[in-house]
Symmetry: D3
Subunit: 169 residues, 6 copies
């Protein structure tokens, strides 16, 4: 197993030195879910048909959040993101806990010396928090879950694709 790389010789945190790494094209895709009452999902879906679109606000928040990643995650390198896209999938069928879900998927691209996994994960997290914020007046029990990296390409460590997990989390 590789070493944790974020610590210096004194054992304290550092921003890892990537100055010798090549600039390569990199992408990362992350996803996550917001679990909610069926009624809450229904409200979100109605809003899309009318103009009160929770997901439109979450999308803007997620894209702006991706750009703020190196501001809020201490050891992240600043990067010139060349593309950010976010999409949503609705799960209207209640699960074993009686909860529906909105799944958020973020795709981030960069040409740089380090990857954009954190940017994709941050975009998903901020979009999910925004959904919570806009619906919390009607459903304080919403849960953000299964936020994870789906895929990354580029860089020295190459391509990573998440294994499908059969059991639900």
């Amino acid at each position: 197993m590789a070493e944790l790389t974020h610590f210096n010789v004194e054992g304290r945190a550092k921003m890892v030195d990537v100055s010798e790494k090549a600039v390569t094209s990199r992408t990362a895709i992350a996803s996550g879910k917001v679990y909610m009452l069926p009624e809450t999902l229904k409200r979100i879906q109605e809003g899309k048909i009318a103009k009160g679109d929770v997901l439109a606000v979450a999308q803007v928040a997620g894209i702006m959040g991706a750009k703020r990643t190196s501001d809020v995650i201490p050891m992240c390198h600043p990067l010139l993101l060349t593309g950010v896209d976010i999409s949503f999938t609705e799960y209207p069928e209640p699960d074993q806990n009686g909860l529906c879900a909105v799944e958020i998927t973020a795709t981030v691209k960069v040409g740089g010396q380090t990857g954009v996994e954190m940017e994709a994960l941050t975009a998903v997290s901020i979009a999910a928090l925004t959904i919570y914020d806009m619906c919390k007046a009607i459903d304080k029990g919403m849960i953000l879950g299964e936020i994870c990296l789906e895929k990354k390409t580029g860089g020295k460590s190459g391509t990573y694709i998440r294994e499908q997990v059969t059991g639900s989390r």
Copy 2:
């Protein structure tokens, strides 16, 4: 069921008008988990004994993240947080997926016209993302999950306490 409050008469998003609300003491507690390989948790625990402390960095990130909430969540009101604390619980026993976990709990206080649920949830999310960032060199499959509001007090809607869910998510 109450109305979604974040939309104006044109059906577009707005920052809800709280100017007529009373200033009251409010608290919110949120929690969430980072699932990881047993080996990853072991590294984090070893780091605490030595000086390479992932959780110390995550704690600083979470506290600073709480202060950035209204910067990154579009419809959140700015608030003068009067206290933020974060604690960690380790789950060294692998679950049914073979994963251990670190649980993050954030407590946020304010005297204000609106609550600090979003600040607590944002603190947990940023701390969780920081743990991911610092361990991703050895475990890209980590999952952020079960991020939810545990409790809130104060304000017109009063106290909310999360019901215990028996099934795992």
Copy 3:
């Protein structure tokens, strides 16, 4: 005519001392226009019917911009905004220059020791810049204009209402 208040005894800029001012309820309304080709306005209007909604993004940007006012305007006091709303009016009839327009109106509220004129004007400006950004691929000649304070209430200087100007700017 009153003195410019933003300068100290050495003649240099300062953030004006408002510590002796009373906390009062204050509002400000500002407006501004983005002039554009008729075809550009048509695209924006079509987007509203479909989902590609330029104005939804501009609205989120304007609200977030209001919250960033004291970050970007050097001598502005930080304030706890209690409400921000933005609305749009379309002017589909070309003016004497053959240009249509979208008018942006921002309303900001606060309880504080200083007013929110700058927050309302900043919200309008950022929303207008966002419209430009999202349509510039098809119309680089758009013009932001007539950004001004419509009304303010509260504070020692009381209510201000803009006089109607008969001539167009």
Copy 4:
């Protein structure tokens, strides 16, 4: 007429993917005006001779604002600006509305995959808002207007130069 490029296949906003674009030298020049009472312009001019220099503060604000563009305009790409300059022209002759003006011109440079039009326009807007802020104690009726792109060079779409408009706006 070209398509609006800021929307994804679901019709929602995205940060346009520029990862395949070449890195080229790019510049943009934008301008705008702050209309004000003759007395207000006189005060600004007096301040320049003494030390209370409104325009010096506006210049710093505009330059810092250019650097914040991708923070406040949702779909803007982050860019490594290589130069920002701002200049002012005074119009002491009252126009048909009896108003004088200060014109702000911002020039921004970058080597990058996308242009700096938004950075130049944001610099002008923030500088104009700062002039308003510093003079609002004596002239709340100031108007920000004619904020537009004067010229851009570089990139696939090449050079754009604004046509002179004979009528005043």
Copy 5:
């Protein structure tokens, strides 16, 4: 001697809970020096007479820096600053190391539950760094020094006034 207050029961950093503290009027004054070659000070002084005013830029930076304090100092509480002023004193007589100096003094006011010592110290530090930045092309050996709290008033711990130190640092 009092306890360090910034640590929680687990021994980790927290933002101290000030929710039970009274809101009182508070001020803090901090100062610091930038030591430089006599020629560098001469250039700064010449600039003041002409328009190239290093200190005007440093002043804007210091005031804006005060407002960013809780963004950059991890455990600082956000505060609604009600006034920030900065002044400069020049020391044209070379010291024993042959260096002249510019002294920066920042005064910050607030009505709040915690003091503004950090805001005053941050204002001085950012202003000093700005002077360094603007003169580093001619004098890389400049030193920032003697940055300290001169005085604070208000709050439970009352007034603090720095003792005069006879020896130079």
Copy 6:
């Protein structure tokens, strides 16, 4: 002696145009000290053995501060930092004023068109301010001093190494 470069033809501040400069590997090392009572240093040292680690928080703050440099220093160019490290040296022997010290050293790397001197100095300053913040409950008399550039490499002006100064400051 070279010219001050941060002023335009009107004598106002600008962000220097570096668009013609080559991209080269650059490093900068800066250092600074926080002087404190012997008892304060003892508390910091005890905290390191337990978990209440002032220096761990200061390190995170310094690294994040380096990334915020172009946000807070008006004329600084944004840069894609490729590495930031911070180390601490304790001086437990009281000096002639009876004060001990913690020395902070920051090393910053970049591949860019301009250097990272300001990023290294800002990292040191923010780390020093954080130490002050976390210990001010027990020692308001702490002094930040001797903040200076130790070394830089890369760029047209080449390598700079600070001359050792024999006298103490």
